[in-house]
Symmetry: C2
Subunit: 263 residues, 2 copies
DNA sequence: GAGTGGTCTAGACCACGCG
DNA sequence: GCGTGGTCTAGACCACTCA
């Protein structure tokens, strides 16, 4: 069923260059294999946390050598879509059961480390459906007025309220999301999104600014309105660069800092 | 001269497992090759911007197959130490002549893009030798009281002062650095460090916080002391994770934002 | 057309996890 | 001991750059 030609049986491998090819965009075989694996991931052929077929099986299925599927998997693993475990297999990455609890949260405590601090305590302040504003619609690639789920919550570490955030989710993908669900799930929110809605966040972009909170925001975090806060606007994407979540967070940075690595 | 055994001529490749090996730390051949190439980079056998020998030459030199040096180079390229250019060769990465002017600066203008904005205008406020405080010494792996070069400067974009930063450099590696030099060099400061001092910054860690400036800082940026600013503390490393620069910057975030990508 | 990196294959063997 | 991913090799051919 795959569209990859079996080069060996043809006697000559002509990757991406058929007789009718007009656009000279050369695409190596392993990229095509990568695309096929990605397609299977998107369509749920293998679920988060499950093992995908072995390299040998995939090589047979796509009629290519093991080395070629290897290179495809290497790239998907580098993008954190797959996880290789020697001796066991290759697994679909998941936000649950991941050693690092919050993969996208860069906030670190000034003293002690993130493990002593333990998981965040969540308080849901609000959770309701609303219509997308022009701004939210643009970010999520919706039309103004489309249904979105809006959540407002506070995250506390060691009983200290540290993050106040607003979340917007496309209504069509998150039908029936309740405050209960947001509050009661043990573990990362993104793990719950995978389990209950089949939406897997793959990467995100953040824009950071220093701001002063308004009165309501200051109260939500229990700080004075003169306390500068780190504003973090996050756009999270699923497969194929489809935006699936907009978040606006205010982080306290008197007890924590935002850590970044530059390469 | 290399310490890599020629497996082919021995009839059996036993990577990392000699007769005397006691610590079972298995290290694949390509990792050893990577180490050898890294060593040559550190010791200036090939300078930033220059081409290194071809894969075939390196394979002959280290007595391994081309595929093995390929994998070593792949990793070094992924770490931004080398740059591959098909048809031309593999080059030592450099902060000069790099398409992205400032590789470590994540600040983006709110309107327009970074290219229209052009290069930063630098104003050196101070540049002198001093003794390392306990804090600076700890960051740079020096002893308290060791000589360091201290620089204070303002960066402006489109004539608007945007970044106020302090820089500490180990005195032993930056002997003779002058304010003139800091001001007059065209291009990234890190490119000047490579050319004039042979110090190449390879990666960095940043800690971000929202802060309010003191009176002097506010004046330096031409903002009110009530303007929240993004505090960015950066530790930059050369090869082998040796810290070579501490920077403390205050970024205006009313006209710019700090961009980050999460994977 | 020569030289460089990039792709693809086929096969051998090694390290790891688990029953 | 088997199956998985990981390493290493040798050789063929392709795409790109430049003289």
């Amino acid at each position: 069923m795959s569209s990859v030609a079996p080069p060996a049986s043809d006697g000559a491998a002509v990757p991406g260059g058929g007789a009718l090819s007009q656009a000279p965009a050369f695409s190596p075989l392993y990229q095509q294999i990568k695309g096929l694996i990605l397609h299977s991931l998107q369509h749920g052929e293998w679920k988060p946390g499950e093992a995908i077929p072995s390299e040998i099986d995939l090589a047979a299925r796509f009629r290519v050598s093991q080395g070629t599927v290897r290179k495809a998997i290497d790239e998907l693993a580098a993008e954190n879509l797959l996880v290789r475990r020697q001796g066991k297999g290759t697994f679909v990455a998941t936000h649950a059961e991941q050693q690092v609890q919050y993969r996208f949260l860069r906030l670190q405590p000034d003293r002690g480390d993130v493990h002593e601090e333990g998981p965040a305590q969540r308080t849901i302040l609000e959770c309701r459906r609303q219509r997308a504003s022009a701004e939210v619609a643009r970010a999520l690639a919706l039309r103004t007025g489309d249904g979105v789920v809006y959540v407002r919550r506070v995250l506390a570490f060691a009983e200290v309220p540290t993050i106040l955030e607003e979340i917007w989710l496309p209504g069509h993908a998150f039908k029936g999301l309740t405050a209960e669900q947001m509050a009661s799930y043990q573990g990362p929110t993104y793990a719950m999104f995978e389990l209950d809605f089949g939406v897997r966040m793959v990467r995100a972009e953040e824009k950071l600014r220093a701001v002063l909170p308004d009165a309501a925001q200051a109260e939500g975090l229990g700080v004075s309105p003169a306390t500068p806060l780190l504003s973090v606007e996050r756009l999270a994407y699923t497969y194929n660069d489809v935006p699936m979540e907009l978040r606006r967070g205010l982080y306290r940075t008197d007890t924590h800092y935002y850590r970044n690595e530059l390469n």
